[in-house]
Structure formats: C-alpha cells, structure tokens
C-alpha cells in the first residue's frame, strides 16, 4: 500500500515508474517472467511465446492507431512483410537470426512508409480504406509471387541460431521473445516522453493544431508509420522463426482486424493496454476452444458449431467492450489498482 504521490520536480513527474512500490512490483514481474519457463509446461510455453510475439505487434499498432490516431487495417500485412523478409534472408542468403531481426523490421518500416506516405492527404476513413487496400495487395503478392514467397505453400526455415546456439525449442525461444518484448515495450513507453512521441499525441488530438504548433505533419506521420511497421516487422520475424514456417494464411485481413481488436480491447493510447489486449486476445480464443472441446465430449454434434461459435464470441467481445468499457482493459486494471492503493481504508 502506498498513499499519495508528492512530486517536487518535473523529472520525477515524468518518470516512468513513479515510486518505489511500482519499481518493486516491476522487479517481481521480471522475476516471475524469468522463472516462468522453468515451471511451465510445453503448452504454456507455446502460448507465452505466441503472446509475447503478439504483444510486440500490438504495441506497434497502438503507436500508430492509439497514439497518433491513424487507423490501419493493414497491420497483419506489415507483420507478413517482416516474416517473409526473415524467411527469405535466412533461407536464400543464410543471414544469422540476429541480423535478420533488424532487417525485417527495416523492410516492414519501408513498406509502412510507402503506405503511410499519402496519409498527409488522406484523412480518417479514407486512410483506413487505403490501408485496407495495402493489406489486400500485399496479401496478393504473398500468394502470387511464387518465385520469392513460395506461394500458398509458403516456406520452411531451419531453427534460428544465436552465436552457434540453436534455438530449437519453445523453452529456448521464450528468452528471445522475452528480451524483445521488454526492449519494445521499454522503447514504446519511453517514446512518449520524447518530442517525437508527444508530437504523435498532438497529431492524434487535432492535426491542424499540431501543425500550427510547428509539428511537421508529413514527417511525424511517416515516423509513426515507420515505427509501427518496424515493430510489426520484428514481430513477424519472431513469428516466422518461432513457427519455422511462413504461409500467406498467417497474415489475412482478419488478423489485422484481430490486432485492432487487441488495441481497442486493451485500451487505445496505453502501452499497458496493448500488452493486456494482446494477452487477452491470445488466451481467450484458446479458452473458448477448450471449453467448446469440453462441450463436444458431451454433445458430439456441437463439433460443427465450434468455429462459428468462436466467431460469434469474438464479435460479442468487441461489441461488449466497446459499448460498456470503451477505455478497455487498461482502465479496468487502473480501477483495480486504485482500489487496492488505499485498501483497506478506502475513505
């Protein structure tokens, strides 16, 4: 329990972790995250890797959509660009994993800049549809440029290596994911304490006002697209190296929608929100399938409803969250935290 924040300097006001309590809990969290793979089973490790990779993608999208206010329906395609870059670089050119990682990020960022380029002229819904077009065009390229991407069959890659150490199982890969998640989240959290990050927020709140205050809209919107797609690329590279295969089916429009859903369910404009949203959206479908699998044991005919029912629940989740809790999981988390701040002396 801690009571009251008394800040005497600007630097303490801007600190990421305001007080000893939050630093303590962060330490606990790191310890838990580090010890987790030693106790968790295969399935949990698999899910944790998946969640970690998704978190990086969701944080990337939140930079663009939640903080800069540019809606993108093409995030999965950027993740795909990163994934394909990683797969091509490692199979054709035998580049090491540690080099592939930033290169896939850069490639995705490059595509992001191309798509984001017109964002100065296109606003709101028009931009949203333009990114939708980008998603569909990239998807088409993934499927049809067979000599490069392997078409529908995709490509298989060998397990990644770091300085000769082969990451051939989920346990070893977990630590790579963990480090990348921590790096990306720290970067994103700090980004919004800098000029660039604050410019993003100003653009989101009102782009014309931001421009009047001396923010070069084109430059900063391009930054936003580049940063967001860079993270998407990193996420894609990890994804491909984790699954050791890449096919166009991994990056459909529905996946972009799922990422948007994470950002919204988590809470727009909140880094913690994207983390919670990504974990939520990774775990909930699994829980639903487990539950439905349980139902199938009792009623064998329920099998055919499995997929559609999942779809209905996914839709319901989005609608219910938006109608009843528009600020998302981050807001729920804040409320819980506040409740315990002064617990048990609430008033």
């Amino acid at each position: 329990m801690h009571i009251g924040d008394f800040k005497e300097t600007y630097s303490s006001d801007q600190a990421v972790f305001i007080n000893a309590t939050s630093r303590f809990w962060l330490g606990v969290l790191f310890a838990v995250l580090f010890l987790f793979p030693f106790v968790a089973g295969d399935y949990l490790l698999f899910m944790a890797n998946l969640a970690g990779i998704t978190i990086i993608g969701a944080v990337g999208l939140n930079i663009l959509t939640g903080f800069t206010g540019l809606i993108s329906l093409g995030h999965a395609a950027f993740i795909g660009v990163g994934g394909y870059t990683a797969a091509i670089l490692s199979t054709r050119f035998d580049l090491p994993f540690l080099l592939c990682l930033p290169l896939s990020g850069l490639m995705a960022a490059f595509f992001g800049i191309i798509v984001g380029g017109p964002s100065l002229r296109l606003k709101g819904l028009y931009l949203c549809i333009a990114t939708l077009a980008a998603q569909l065009i990239l998807e088409f390229v993934f499927v049809h440029w067979e000599s490069l991407t392997g078409g529908i069959r995709g490509m298989n890659i060998s397990p990644p290596q770091i300085f000769g150490y082969v990451l051939d199982n989920d346990f070893k890969f977990y630590f790579v994911t963990l480090v990348m998640v921590i790096l990306c989240v720290t970067f994103a959290r700090n980004l919004f304490r800098t000029r660039v990050g604050r410019a993003f927020i100003a653009i989101r709140d009102r782009d014309i006002s931001a421009e009047l205050m001396g923010i070069n809209l084109l430059q900063y919107k391009t930054y936003a697209f580049a940063l967001s797609s860079f993270m998407a690329g990193i996420s894609g590279c990890l994804w491909v190296n984790f699954l050791k295969t890449v096919t166009p089916e991994h990056f459909p429009l529905m996946e972009s929608v799922r990422y948007l859903a994470m950002v919204i369910v988590g809470g727009m404009g909140s880094i913690l929100g994207s983390i919670l949203g990504a974990i939520f959206m990774t775990i909930v479908p699994e829980l639903i399938s487990t539950f439905l699998g349980f139902l199938v044991n009792i009623f064998p005919t329920a099998m055919s409803f499995l997929f559609p029912l999942q779809q209905v629940i996914f839709g319901l989740l989005i609608v219910i969250f938006l109608v009843f809790e528009p600020h998302g999981l981050a807001e729920i988390w804040r409320r819980i935290k506040n409740y315990f701040h002064l617990w048990p002396f609430e008033h």
Partner: protein, 294 residues
C-alpha cells in the same frame, strides 16, 4: 473485340448490382457518419432469409421479398438501437470496430443456423440467356441488374420527393439545423439503418441468385469500399457511378489479367484503382471536401 464488349457489358450489369449495395452503405454513412463494415453480412443474412422462405416455406418470391424487406428493416433497427446508439460521439475507430464485431457475430450465427455448405436458389427468372447481337448475357445477371436498378431508382425517388427522404437529406446536411426544424434526428438514424439494411439484403438476394448462398457471400462486402471511396463516401450519385466503374474494371482485369496471375486479379483490381484515385483525389470523385476549422 467480342470479348471486350462481352466483358464490358457483363461488368456493367454486375456494376449495377454493386451500385445497389453501395447505396445501402452510403445511406448509412451520409446520415450517421458510420462506416458499416457489416454490410456484407447484411447481404448474406438477407439472402439466407430469402432462401429459407423460398425453399423451406415454399413461398412465392412476391411474398418473399416483402418479408425480407421487413426482416432487414428490423435488423437495421435493432442494430442501431441496441449497439450503435450507445456509440454516439465515440471515435471513428471504435465505431468501425463495433461494426466489424457485429459482422463477425452475424457471420457466426448464419453458419450456426444454416451451416457452411453452398446452396443455390430455386430459379427466380427465366433461364434463357439474353442475346444482344454478339453478346450473350446470363439471365440471372440481366434480370438481377434490372431488379437492382428498379430498387436504386425507387430509393433515389424516395430521397428526392418523399417526406422521409427529404428529412434524411436534411439530417445528413446539418444535424443541428434539421433538429431545429422539428426533424427527429435519432429516428432518422434508425430509418437510415433500416434503409441501408434493406438495400444490402436486396443486393444480397440478387447476388445469391447469381452465385448461390454461403456464409462467405459477405466477402463481396469488401468490394463496397473501393466503390464508395471512388465515388466519395457521402455521395449517392458517386456510389452508383462507382458501382459501375468497379464492375467494369474488375471484369476487364479478370478477363485480361487473370490468366497471367493464376486468378485473384479480379478482386484486387478495384483496390489498385482505388489507390490511384485516392492519390489524385483524396475525397473520391464526388465526395464532399471537408473544410476543417479549429
């Protein structure tokens, strides 16, 4: 040359049907500023209801159509009242996501109720192909086009002359002014959703009659975006013209380019055209250019 003419005419006919669906979309957008990502699912639901009425209840199409229209209006009404009314004043992205979520719900429900298998309608129109000179047109397409045009014209007349239509236009133009003139703006929102759903489901029936019904019928809904963006999101004339343009473009691209790319160009071409149009005219061909003030 024959192939070219053939492609253009059938593209034109398909375009007319797209125009109807896009009209449903623009109706909703104009009045409420909501991008309805569930339009495709509205189409699918309409087509399935019509299919059930025809096949399970063995009703004649003349009874089937009014029932579908009533159901669609009800669906639009419920969606507006139960979900979107709560979203007033929320940011664009939230509203977009709500309609996406809604689409997901409708898609799942349709698959639970009707299954995922492909079904084809009992014949509605005479089977004999229409022959114009050297061009042969599928009868379903031709009559479907005529039907779509009739509905589009009815809607356009409704807007021009009926009291509801004038009120809707007034609401779209300026909500405050409309409100002070005694127009119930909220009712207008509901009516726009009902009209939008009706247009979409009629379009769904026509498309279902040409290509059969299955839950993925709603994917055609994605084509609405190039259409309405081409025409400008808030322009009814733009939606109709955009429908024709997209119909023709996709047919030409499909006819000439598909063999080189192993398929898929047909669905992609409208989006490529869309990007070029947006680069030149960021508000589409007929969209209102927003003037922003601080």
């Amino acid at each position: 040359m024959d192939i070219f003419l053939q492609l253009i005419t059938s593209g034109f006919l398909v375009g007319g049907i797209y125009a109807l669906i896009a009209l449903g979309f623009v109706l909703i957008y104009k009045a409420t500023n909501i991008i309805n990502f569930a339009t495709g699912e509205f189409m699918m639901i309409g087509a399935y209801i019509f299919y059930s009425l025809m096949v399970y209840l063995k009703l004649s199409p003349f009874i089937g159509f009014p029932i579908v229209i009533i159901c669609a209006a009800l669906l639009g009404f419920l969606v507006e009242r139960l979900i979107l009314r709560h979203m007033l004043g929320q940011p664009n992205i939230s509203i977009i996501m709500v309609t996406i979520g809604l689409g997901s719900i409708l898609l799942g429900l349709a698959e639970i109720i009707w299954g995922s298998s492909f079904r084809s309608f009992p014949p509605l129109f005479p089977r004999k192909p229409i022959i114009l000179g050297e061009i042969v047109l599928r009868s379903n397409l031709f009559y479907g086009f005529l039907m779509a045009m009739v509905v589009v014209v009815v809607f356009l007349l409704l807007f021009k002359y009926a009291k509801v239509g004038v009120a809707m236009r007034a609401t779209a133009n300026d909500q405050m002014a409309a409100f002070s003139m005694g127009i119930n703006v909220k009712t207008m929102f509901t009516i726009s959703w009902a009209f939008g759903a009706i247009a979409a489901s009629l379009g769904g029936i026509i498309i279902g009659n040409i290509g059969g019904v299955q839950p993925t019928l709603g994917h055609i809904g994605l084509k609405i975006f190039p259409i309405v963006i081409l025409g400008g999101l808030d322009s009814i004339i733009g939606a109709v013209l955009g429908g024709f343009i997209v119909g023709i473009v996709e047919n030409l691209a499909g006819g000439y380019l598909d063999p080189y790319f192993h398929g898929g160009v047909k669905d992609l071409a409208p989006f490529v055209v869309l990007i070029f149009i947006l680069l030149i005219k960021p508000h589409g061909l007929f969209g209102t250019k927003e003037i922003e003030r601080l």
